[in-house]
Assembly symmetry: C2
Amino acid sequence: MLHNSAEGTLYLMPVWLGDHGGIEQLPPENITMASGIHLWFAENEKTARHMLRRMMPDIDLPGQEILRLDKDTTPQEVERLLDRMRGRNAGVISEAGMPGIADPGALVVRAAHRRRIKVQALTGPNSMMLALAASGLNGQRFNFHGYLPVKPPERKQAIKRIEQDALRTGAAQLFIETPYRNDALFADLIQTCAPGTELTLAIDITQPHGSTVTLPISEWAKEKPVLGKRPAVFILGRS
Amino acid sequence: MLHNSAEGTLYLMPVWLGDHGGIEQLPPENITMASGIHLWFAENEKTARHMLRRMMPDIDLPGQEILRLDKDTTPQEVERLLDRMRGRNAGVISEAGMPGIADPGALVVRAAHRRRIKVQALTGPNSMMLALAASGLNGQRFNFHGYLPVKPPERKQAIKRIEQDALRTGAAQLFIETPYRNDALFADLIQTCAPGTELTLAIDITQPHGSTVTLPISEWAKEKPVLGKRPAVFILGRS
């Protein structure tokens, strides 16, 4: 048997992105599922309560068990979280976006699979996918690199390697940066990449003032955008 | 100016996955956006009309202009599609999932960026992201390979190369297969990969009977699941 039928299901519950987001950006099915869950794993209990109340205004908050799951949670603690399910459903709720993708939620998901607990991810906003779709770059083949190295020489080397991979294979190359380093990364991209390489900047995606723009490096060099400290996804691609 | 203010916005409108899907799997914001659009680009006019009526039961269908956009649409035809916007908003509606990712929608998105038309992707189900989140494998770094080669020797070589990359870099490796070849691909994975390599099978994701399971190759070899002709996402990862 692939699943242990004595166990509940572990749901991955996404949350809207950014200050202007809200439940109108989540499928109604998610709210239906959430209303049947009373055990939650979350990075921060206070923000989890806030999210749950926004998702379900009539929720009985004292009746919700919210247990901490963050990057410092040990494997033993993860097992104790799953012990608390005892046949019930549970939810992993993120701080923003999809739990389990670049998120400590993955720890409990891995452990759930080892116990043959059923895991189900619910639809929600994911900045990488939204950026890739809106970029028009290659959605048949792509690589997500996470964060590039911080030090300038290593970062420029990484950019060169990633660009070469984009030009050779045609795969779209996604990466992110800590917002306060956005402008430095953009400057390195303009300096390092060939004029004809395509660069997508997806900034504040899903926000009313957000934008996703794909232009060749040569055009970006003329535009000189100021990204500031706004969440951004960068994509390099072949023209 | 990054966007041409005389132009409308091109929205990417995702659609639920599979027969059991429906508008409860789409954010209400998408329906609000859709109701302001009267020009659509779609692979198949008939299914697009069906999707739009399910999204908006009161829609004035004869008032919708639905223009064909598929993998055979030429660059000249793509330009003519954008010509029809003339300052209005337009929507790319997919057959299933997110337009622009492994989808002909990307053609018109690229052309829109060249004209500085604003492009916005709306949240919806994406089987790759849902599979990756529910896999518990590495969401900080991952590669999507699309379809592997069809011929057995080339396919086994591709599997070996992808597995080595997973073991060396730790990146999760996603790929898909035409459903009638699922079982053959699964057999090749069991034969080719090391016993300790993690394999995720995400089958019929978002469907009530769907499942996402991550196990080491050695465990899968004992389970011998029959995938049949159901849509599947495969992921290889390091344990």
